[in-house]
Amino acid sequence: MHRILIGRYIPGQSILHRLDPRSKLFFSLFFLLLIFQMDTVWDVCIIQIFLTLIIQFSGISYRFFWGNIRPFFWFAIFLALFQILMVQEGVVLFSVISWEITSKGLWLGGLLFLRFLDMLLITALLTLTTTPMEITHAVSKLLKPLNRFHIPVDTISFMVSLTLRFIPTFLDEAEVLLKAQASRGMDFQEGTLIQKIKGIASIVVPLLIQMFKKADTVALALETRGFQKSGTRSTYRELIWKKQDTGCMLFLFFFYGLLWFF
């Protein structure tokens, strides 16, 4: 269960690690947009080359990227195959049994597959090079203007960081409970329906009771430290917009121009 570490951040010293999380967020959103727009061979080539380059720059082993892609991989292949078989326009290349594989189908299927892959890679790049805290902080900074519409951005970002803080805790607890019950002979595969229900209850009930207890403690701890829902929040580490971030934004525009030009 520990392999699913939330927000698998890999520490490093690369340029991607040092960028301001806000510019990284911008960057990935912008890139997602680009990925949805790519529809010519040129677009695809430039974006793939560029992606390979930044992955290289990040200095993170390909293993971690694969870990992020794996859950989606077969789904993407399935979608692509479906597309290849469904599109019956363009030049017929060859036929399998009664299905005709056409050039257009192949192209559209490949494009769909690449879009999925690129999307996952970009998301992985962000979470691998940025700590969860930094991302939450950046999102709340970027959404600040929403405060004007009475959306409590600070409260939401506080709750998000609280959630992230407790996911590993509950994961550990669930694991302990599963093992504890297994050592007492619980088996989900066997037994009647009632036994299964009891089995699940024996894991969920302690988890929930623990949660309610923890909530009390955390709430009390917050209160004693003067937590206010409506106060302005200060942070231990301020985000600083540096020259390299401006450079990154400029580069994005340049890159967009390049794609637009072709």
């Binding site: 939330i6 859950p71 769909l112 999307m119 979470t127 992230l164 949660m211 909530a215």
Partner: protein, 189 residues
Amino acid sequence: MEHTKILQTRAYVLCALFAALIAVGALIKIPVPVVPFTLQFLFTNLAGILLGKKFGMIAVGLYVTVGLIGFPVFAGGGGISYVLHPTFGYLIGFILGAWIAGYITERSEKPTYRTWLFAGLMNLLMIYTCGMIYYYCIANFYLDSPVGIVALIWFAFVLAIPGDILLCIISVFLTKRLLPITQKRGTDK
């Protein structure tokens, strides 16, 4: 005055922790034969029933927000691009479903087994309606890979529903056991 303030802080903390629990629920797979399922629906349903409509919805909404920001808490990863994933509709359904479950439980004066079962089933109905409509739209208009309505109902509903109905029944029993604890500790509604 002071007391309500503490209760309010506690309610928000409770939402955040419940969201964490939902994320954990999505990761725990119970290896039941035929349909292995996750505890995700169980927790979103309990969020609605135990926390009430407002905080239940906030808790589930928070879980979805955390996933959308980019943390891999959904069954298949995370990130803003998940919005275009065909199964995102189920997540919207989770939010609305938690609200409905909370609404039904809050409305009745003395909730019984029947109320909770009804709340759970309505929650399920909401999730599947949202999920299937979304799947249909994404598959047909975005992915350009049309799916038939019959195939959709077969794959997205008939094959998945038995496990969820089981979870519905389990959540009724769990509510019975957990309600004394939550009531003793009291959420302000």
